[in-house]
């Protein structure tokens, strides 16, 4: 039961994260900002709308968001809850999580290409390229965790926190996961979710032609994905496994909220990178990941 609690929490609380980020950004720029629960309102509104589909589109336009959301939910099932292992857990399950996110991405890319619009094609192509570059970084970072833990499942490697001997390279992993959070969720400095220039967007431009329930599934899926990474960052930092359940939960939720705040702070203080610079960012992250892995293995 405890294991499923985290899923439940994610499903319920995930839309809060975009809210927190937006609120932080607004505060930083001196505005009041949208309500914290804005995403809930949006989702509720979207689910009540009808479907508007492109003439060009085939079945994929509708299948994409559903598969994408289902796959993200799948990935979430592999994350351990603060007080207990994940409902499904086996050695090497981080690969399943990563590939689930990949499936979710593929579904969205295909749905985007289904509209036949050049804008959506553009977003899809960028998404495909950048996430392919992000994939090895994710693996290396998780591998460093796995060697450190030592355990091959997410449930074993997350939640240990920085307990034990403190080595500088162990700080890299949360940092890397945070960079990946920004990349995979298309946040600044990789992408700007609030921009109005289609030419510069990645994720948002892919979903231009989605509407109603489809859009709701996409937004909800995005929020869940954000939660996934925020939870991963938190669990890689905090030794929740060693804490009593309630304290663990509290620390965890606070941690997730703090990650969201950090994202908000970054978004308010940085500018978006030029698209050409994104691979460089990922390359640096990769180098850092390799370094941390080699150091971990060496120790």
């Amino acid at each position: 039961m405890n294991a499923w609690l985290h899923i439940l929490a994610a499903l319920v609380l995930a839309p809060l994260i975009p809210g927190i980020i937006n609120r932080v950004k607004a505060r930083m720029s001196g505005r009041v900002g949208k309500p914290l629960l804005q995403t809930y309102f949006d989702l509720a509104k979207l689910t009540r709308k009808g479907l508007v589909e492109s003439h060009t589109a085939s079945f994929m336009l509708g299948v994409g968001p559903a598969v994408s959301l289902a796959a993200v939910c799948g990935a979430l099932c592999l994350l351990p809850s603060p007080a207990s292992p994940a409902p499904a857990s086996f050695g090497g399950d981080f690969m399943l999580a990563a590939y689930c996110l990949g499936l979710s991405r593929l579904a969205l890319i295909l749905a985007a290409l289904d509209t036949g619009s050049s804008f959506e094609g553009m977003g899809a192509s960028r998404e495909a390229a950048f996430s392919a570059l992000a994939e090895p970084v994710l693996f290396l970072a998780l591998l460093a965790l796995a060697v450190d833990a030592p355990s091959l499942s997410l449930s074993g490697m997350l939640g240990q926190g920085l307990s034990g001997a403190l080595a500088p390279e162990r700080l890299f992993v949360p940092l890397l996961l945070f960079i990946l959070l920004l990349t995979e969720n298309c946040r600044i400095p990789v992408d700007d979710p609030n921009t109005h220039l289609e030419l510069t967007m990645i994720h948002e431009v892919m979903v231009l032609d989605h509407s109603g329930p489809d859009m709701a599934m996409i937004s909800y899926g995005a929020a869940l994905k954000l939660w996934f990474f925020a939870a991963a960052v938190t669990l890689s930092l905090l030794p929740v496994q060693a804490m009593p359940p309630l304290a663990a939960w509290a620390a965890f939720l606070a941690g997730v909220a703090l990650v969201a705040v950090a994202v908000g702070l970054i978004e308010s203080s940085m500018a978006r990178l030029r698209l050409l610079r994104v691979p460089r960012l990922l390359g640096s992250a990769g180098a850092l990941a390799a370094l941390s892995l080699v150091l971990t293995v060496w120790r």
């Binding site: 508007v52 589909e53 559903a66 289902a70 499904a88 295909l110 036949g116 994939e135 060697v147 109603g212």
Partner: protein
């Protein structure tokens, strides 16, 4: 064993019958019938034999060299499975594709010889996998290698097809030359030809040059597997060959290179770690370069060909890691590496042949396999589109499709590799995992491109807009393969145990820990299976909710939003070159892309044309210059045959004088 013989007999009957009826429509029925019958009997044979059984047979043999020793063991059965399955599907698909089509064409009807070689290819493949004697193996190997040349050059009136067939023939033969050298060296040193005797000689230390033998075998079989840089024939012959032939080659034939390597490794002395790393290293290079090149392709079939290079690279990566594990006394790594490689081989065979059959339907319907001519086909041919997209996701290794299990098992081997002694092997294991991830990411991009641009969006040409869906019969073969793959996904743990039989039979494998490791992987596969079922159910539920929402709140069709532009055309869509542009900015070199922009001068150019060409770097930079250099050298040497008879006499005289001076001094 009896059923194996029966299936071989069916193949040969099919071959002879199609030759006997060459030039008539009957050949197009009898040939495929033989292939299907043989394959189904073979499949029945596989199903009815326990997975771990070992059968041996020795038959009378008419040559002064070697002996007709045949046998079936778990490895043979495992590699026979895709041959039979894909063989049957390809035969059905080919029979339908060729029905009546040749009759309308000018020139002789070649379907008789086509089906002859089709059956010969199948028989050759089966025989290669049953041969337990070097000479028999080599004969079957060469016959099997030659048949695709004839299959691929069915439409030899096109210059490209001729070029491709030539490329294939040369590559196949050069690879075979190394294989022949391998066996000749081994047989020469061992003084025997049977596999058992060769292995015995290796154990007794009579094979005195194991490293040379290893390289001969590895490079020889790598040419058939299609590892970089020996892959040049794949992107040539696959687009040129008819779809069903490409399916059989990619699903049934290139695996035979792996099989050969497997056997060679069984024969050779226990592998050293560096041998495993060599295989793994070339595998990684093939996987990365292959998938990048695939990403750069504008032709659906060429893209699939490069994807085969990638997958073969991954398989070799697993194989190499398995050998490393074996050499370093890490049985878990050994079992998982070999097992993952073999499992991936099965999945790749199914998915790739399915993809080729779909591509063949596209080619039939549209008349072109170039992505620039396709688009929007999912609406015209939904079944083919769905199958292609699913198979694309599967070959990219995405769960819940079975491709994931193979990659997962290989990843587990890499994780086990983190326990190897020494920093370097551990780092290498970790690096292979990173490479696996990168390959997975790019594979996703490549198949998003292939599936998305060919089947989704708006049709780019009138032919694509008017494409007709294939008949129900034509879907039979792809559906057969798809059903097999679904079964594989559902029964992945069982399949992994089946694969495990071959792994456990590998010489030097410590059975208890190996079995435990494989069992662990099987349990993971079971979890993945439940997990996948959950995702499917959830997605289905969401779709049902979406349909209900659509019914409740209305459903409209509108034009795609054009950002204010009111007259969008299909040509404005993202195409093959533009889709990969972000990646190409970074990786144009390994992707083999060269671009040329022709633009009118001035601030407001009226006309601009962008050419993006993807060429094979290994071919352009390595083999073509090499062949040209050899040709130049040979041309230069031809001056000695100048036609002047008195100088010819001088040669004779000089030879005599030199020999006398040398031998009598």
């Amino acid at each position: 064993m009896e059923l194996f013989g029966l299936s071989l007999a069916f193949y040969l009957l099919g071959a002879l019958a199609s030759l006997a009826f060459a030039g008539r429509e009957t050949a197009n029925h009898l040939g495929p019938a033989g292939a299907v019958a043989g394959s189904l009997v073979g499949l029945a044979g596989l199903a009815l034999t326990p997975a771990s059984a070992v059968a041996q047979a020795s038959l009378p043999w008419g040559l002064p060299l070697g002996s007709l020793a045949l046998g079936l063991d778990p490895a043979s059965r495992l590699f026979l499975l895709p041959v039979y399955a894909v063989g049957a599907a390809a035969a059905v698909a080919g029979s339908l594709a060729l029905a009546g089509s040749e009759a309308a064409q000018a020139g002789p009807d070649r379907r008789g010889t086509h089906w002859f070689f089709f059956n010969i290819l199948l028989a050759g493949l089966a025989l290669v996998m049953a041969a337990r004697d070097g000479v028999v193996f080599l004969i079957a190997w060469e016959v099997m290698s030659l048949a695709p040349f004839f299959l691929g050059s069915l439409h030899d009136d096109e210059a490209e097809v001729r070029e491709a067939a030539w490329t294939y023939l040369v590559c196949a033969h050069l690879g075979a030359a190394l294989v022949i050298a391998f066996f000749a060296l081994a047989m020469g040193q061992a003084g025997a030809t049977g596999f058992a005797a060769l292995a015995e000689a290796a154990r007794a230390g009579r094979l005195t040059m194991p490293s040379l033998l290893f390289f001969l075998a590895f490079f020889g079989f790598a040419a058939k597997i299609g590892l970089v840089p020996f892959h040049v024939w794949l992107p040539a012959i696959y687009p040129a060959a008819p779809g069903h032939v490409a399916a059989l080659m990619s699903g049934g034939m290139i695996n035979v290179g792996l099989y050969g390597l497997w056997r060679a490794l069984e024969i050779l002395p226990p592998p050293a770690a560096w041998q495993g790393w060599t295989i793994a290293g070339l595998g990684v290079a093939s996987a990365l370069l292959g998938i990048l090149a695939a990403l750069g392709q504008g032709n659906l079939k060429r893209l699939l060909a490069y994807s085969s290079v990638e997958n073969m690279g991954l398989i070799c990566l697993g194989l190499g890691l398995g050998l490393v594990g074996l050499a370093c006394g890490n049985p878990a790594m050994a079992a998982l590496g070999l097992g993952g490689a073999l499992f991936h081989m099965l999945c790749h065979a199914g998915f790739k042949s399915l993809l080729f059959l779909c591509a063949a339907e596209v080619l039939t319907a549209v008349g072109s396999a170039r992505i620039a001519h396709l688009g929007g086909l999912a609406k015209r041919m939904p079944a083919v589109g769905t199958l292609f997209l699913l198979a694309g996701a599967g070959i990219a290794g995405l769960p819940p499709l079975p491709g994931f299990i193979g990659e997962l098992t290989m990843a587990l081997a890499m994780l086990a590799g983190l326990d190897l002694p020494g920093l370097l092997p551990r780092t290498a294991s970790a690096a292979s995992l990173a490479a696996l991830a990168a390959v997975g990411g790019f594979a996703l991009a490549a198949f998003a491109k292939a599936g998305g641009l060919a089947f989704l969006g708006a049709p780019r040409t009138p032919a694509a807009a008017k494409a007709e869906a294939p008949s129900h019969a034509a879907l039979l073969a792809p559906l057969f393969l798809a059903a097999g793959l679904v079964t594989a996904a559902a029964l992945a743990p069982a399949l992994l145990r089946f694969v495990g039989q071959a792994v456990l039979a590998f010489p030097g494998m410590d059975p208890a820990p190996a079995r435990a490791a494989l069992e662990q992987a099987a349990m993971a596969a079971r979890t993945v299976g439940f997990f996948g079922a959950g995702i499917i159910l959830l997605a289905g539920g969401l779709l049902w909710l979406r349909a209900r929402a659509g019914a409740a709140h209305g459903r409209r069709r509108e034009p795609t939003w054009g950002c204010g532009y009111t007259a969008p055309t299909a040509r404005m869509q993202y195409g093959a070159a533009s889709f990969v542009e972000p990646a190409a900015k970074l990786l144009a070199g390994p992707m083999g892309l060269t671009r040329r922009l022709d633009m009118d001068p001035g601030l407001f150019p009226k006309r601009a044309t962008l050419f993006v060409v993807s060429r094979d770097a290994a071919r352009d930079r390595l083999f073509t210059p090499l062949f040209e250099a050899v040709a130049r050298l040979c041309d230069a040497a031809k001056v000695v045959q100048h036609g002047k008879v008195h100088l010819y006499i001088l040669y004779v005289l000089a030879t005599v004088v030199l020999l006398l001076a040398w031998k009598l001094s």
